[in-house]
């Protein structure tokens, strides 16, 4: 009991100290008085919770992120299986994929906004593009790393190519896909916020932009706190989903020592 009490107390103490420091800095009018007090941000959080606009912005953000993630998951797995199943295609696309991989979607944001305008569709498309490549590449790796013995065994049992794909290749590629989806889910949320903040798409990113441009600093901080909680929930949710969906795979089973 003592051991679990100490970390808890220290954690509470750490948060309290951070809040005190924040309050002191805003009381001392650091940064020209642009730092709002803890109280005003808390009041604003309460006001946000009572505002239907905020909830619809939140719903839009979550909806766009999940929709884009689902689309890129579907598209990424299909493309990944196609690319991974044919050796020449894998080699032909590798250099292009490796080049594009480290380029974040924010780079093409101006082009996407130009074509689609500041709409939800634009945000959705940006999320789709941003999450697509990692999922494709992981799926390709997963398909490629299928145990050749299992594949040959299936073939000698007379399985058809489609059957081999569904029963051998896909299950063994699943952990790779799961990892890609888990990494992509927080990214989808981030891209949705970026699209709103910089491209004018709907949702919390846009609220953030309006609060900053209008000088409404308590709301700005309240929104960032909401985004922090939302980001945590996304990370937590995908980790739970991954464990639930992939519990049968050997790399997720509890190891018995």
């Amino acid at each position: 009991m003592r051991t679990s009490f100490k970390p808890l107390a220290a954690g509470v103490g750490g948060v309290a100290a951070a809040l005190l420091l924040w309050q002191a800095a805003s009381g001392a009018r650091a940064a020209g008085g642009s730092l709002p007090s803890v109280g005003s941000v808390a009041t604003d959080l309460g006001a946000l919770a009572g505002s239907p606009d905020f909830w619809s912005a939140l719903a839009q953000t979550v909806g766009i992120a999940l929709l884009g993630l689902a689309a890129s998951g579907l598209g990424g797995i299909v493309v990944g299986i196609l690319v991974g199943s044919f050796e020449p295609v894998r080699y032909a696309t590798r250099a292009a994929l490796e080049f594009l991989k480290p380029i974040p979607p924010i780079v093409i944001l101006p082009l996407v906004v130009l074509i689609l305008g500041p709409t939800g569709q634009m945000s959705w498309f940006l999320v789709f593009l941003g999450c697509l490549l990692p999922i494709v590449m992981q799926t390709v790796d997963g398909v490629h790393s299928t145990d050749p013995v299992a594949r040959d065994t299936a073939r000698s049992y007379g399985m058809k190519p489609v059957e081999i794909l569904v029963r051998i290749v896909l299950p063994s590629a699943m952990p790779y896909i799961g990892t890609a989806m888990r990494v992509s889910a927080p990214a989808a949320l981030i891209i949705t916020v970026v699209a709103g903040l910089l491209g004018g798409g709907p949702g919390l990113g846009q609220s953030l932009y309006l609060a900053q441009a209008g000088g409404d600093y308590p709301t700005l901080y309240a929104l960032v706190i909401v985004l922090g909680i939302l980001g945590l929930l996304f990370q937590l949710g995908t980790r739970v989903a991954e464990r639930r969906l992939l519990h049968w795979h050997e790399s997720y089973r509890e190891v018995a020592h």
């Binding site: 130009l114 922090g228 996304f234």
Partner: protein, 262 residues
């Protein structure tokens, strides 16, 4: 085996040839294009040369890169140092754990408006945004890496009565370095995204600002050239990082390969 040997060069040729073919196809297909959104690649390359290599090299390209390098360097050093203190002193870890978990949930770009409200639109704001956003991935990887260090290794260090400094420099740092490097790689990506985001908000200089301005004033070839430049920088930064990582972690990559082969 023989068949595989014969196929190798063909496959490599495919790997090198396809991107070149794609570029050529883009060049040819867009030549004489009158589509507003997709100007000829030749025009884009022209604008690229005119804009980024001459007119705006000093005023924008260097400014962006300086902010990126400065912010990233601050973040990397601070994250590893604070990570060590946090991982090695349990009370510190307990105290900052909830805060860190909350802060890393915040999309890094959402920090930019806050820094604008605190510091205005100057270069300090950009460097600070980049540094804070890039801090978390490396910090978390450092703490995780240190906590995963083999107990046996620590016991041996104790038996040999290594001083605290030796233990950190000769045992802990190398043991955690593979994880630290993967954190550093994520931090680099984050820093790059925040660099662009910090330039796209408000009146400002830099490659991101120029690219968005070109889009808003409908100078499509300029916008494309900005996208191209940002893409190349994103790729080059990651490529350089990988070179350094391979050099520093050569012992680790080699041991992994051996372990896999055996």
């Amino acid at each position: 085996m023989d068949k595989l040997m014969n196929k190798r060069p063909v496959l490599w040729l495919l790997g090198i040839g396809t991107p070149a073919l794609l570029l050529a196809a883009w060049w040819l297909a867009s030549a004489g294009s009158t589509d507003t959104f997709f100007p000829p690649l030749a025009d884009i390359v022209d604008r690229f040369r005119a804009l980024w290599l001459f007119d705006h090299f000093g005023s924008d390209v260097l400014v962006s890169l300086r902010n990126l390098v400065l912010g990233y360097a601050i973040a990397a050093l601070a994250a590893v140092a604070v990570g060590f203190v946090t991982a090695l002193a349990a009370p510190v870890r307990w105290a900052v754990d909830p805060l860190i978990h909350f802060l890393r949930g915040i999309p890094p770009v959402a920090l930019v408006p806050i820094f604008i409200s605190l510091m205005g639109f100057g270069p300090e704001m950009r460097v600070a945004s980049i540094a804070l956003a890039a801090f978390f991935p490396t910090f978390i990887a450092t703490v995780d890496g240190l906590r995963a260090v083999d107990r046996g290794l620590l016991d041996v260090a104790q038996v040999y009565r290594l001083s605290r400094r030796d233990r950190v420099v000769a045992v802990l740092l190398p043991a955690a370095s593979p994880q630290i490097f993967s954190g550093l790689q994520v931090s680099l990506q984050t820093a790059f995204v925040v660099m662009i985001a910090s330039e796209m908000l408000g009146p400002s200089r830099g490659i991101g600002a120029m690219t968005l301005l070109a889009q808003q004033s409908f100078m499509i070839s300029d916008m494309w050239s900005g996208i191209l430049l940002l893409g190349v920088i994103g790729f080059a930064a990651n490529f350089l990082f990988d070179l350094v990582r391979r050099k520093v972690l050569a012992w680790y990559i080699g041991s992994r390969r051996l372990a896999r082969a055996s």
